[in-house]
Amino acid sequence: MRSLRFPCLVIAALLPDTAFAHEAFGNLGPFYTHMLHPAVDPSQGVLLVGMGALLARQPVETVRSAYAVFAMASALAAVILTVLPLTAPGVRLTAATAVLLGIMTAIGLQLPRWFVAVLCVGVAIIAALSFDAAPSTKSIQTAAGGALGLALTVLIVWGALDWAGERLHPVAAAVAGSWIAAVGLMVMALPV
């Protein structure tokens, strides 16, 4: 019976109705707002999940260099965005990139290292441009939070899919790829 205590506690905690009366996060300040941005902006989130899924289908040697390139490109793009207020990419560009990433992930092509690195730079730039480019007095926090948010999201997705591929089935990343491509395909068809 002792072993049942924890599951019972969890179920008891989850059962009461939840009241979502107010904004989930409130004003967290520029650092956390930018760090958590991929979780609340679907267009940025889809791209980053697609990038993580693509990396999960590549050999770990390729991932090591590609992820370093992605993290550096994200940091650079986030810093540039604090001084140059660039406009966000069009939704069709984001969707087309998602389709490309998703299909390559679903097929499971082993891509050359340089190509994965180029993709990482491209995705990092498009994802960084999805941040709100409004000038902020706390530009260091904005840039650091943004860069960390992009890098962490890709790392978490890659880690989760790599783990699922090893523990559950190697096709886990391919399934995620097909989901990303499906989302991108439909969004591309939406009237602008």
Binding site: F20, P42, L168, A181
Partner: protein, 203 residues
Amino acid sequence: MTDQIRWTRYFSLACATGAALGILIEPAWAHSGEGASGGFWSGFLHPVTGLDHLIAMVGVGIWGAFLGVPAIWLLPVIFPLVMAVGGVIGIIGVPLPSVETWIAASAVAIGLGIALALRPPLSLAILIVAVFAIFHGYAHGAEMPHTANPLAYAVGFVLATGALHLCGIAFGLLERNSAGRIAVRATGGVIAMLGVGFLTGAL
């Protein structure tokens, strides 16, 4: 017991627990939730709350598991991609005939496939699932342009569809033992009967 089998069991348990909690918990949404989350939840709940979609999606997963490798991983990869093509047809407004009939027919066909333990050639199974995926995608896609946040809606409904497939696969893996095989085939029969209910307008 190998790691993979152990984790597959944990995964099946997690799916079952998630489904049970999903039924038990009824959150109170103090506000409409439109905006950032409205599109996502609308999309996510569409396949989950529509019984005709739900049984077909779960059925595809069960049938994939029933057919074994490589269908177990090919069907869940192909279904969302072809479904997106159906979604595109719906978004751009090309009319498709008798969408609801095709959706109900998909439940009947897939349910019968499971109940009768049909193992067609892989190409035929893919073709059957792909044809039905078009109509499921169409039903979702036709609604998308009218939602508050179409991108979030798309993410929500693709995630829900995929999650239903995975639940179906997890359940379908039970067919590896004799008692489980009976349960899986009986579920196929229930899916087919529900499909007949939708097809005849009884449900």
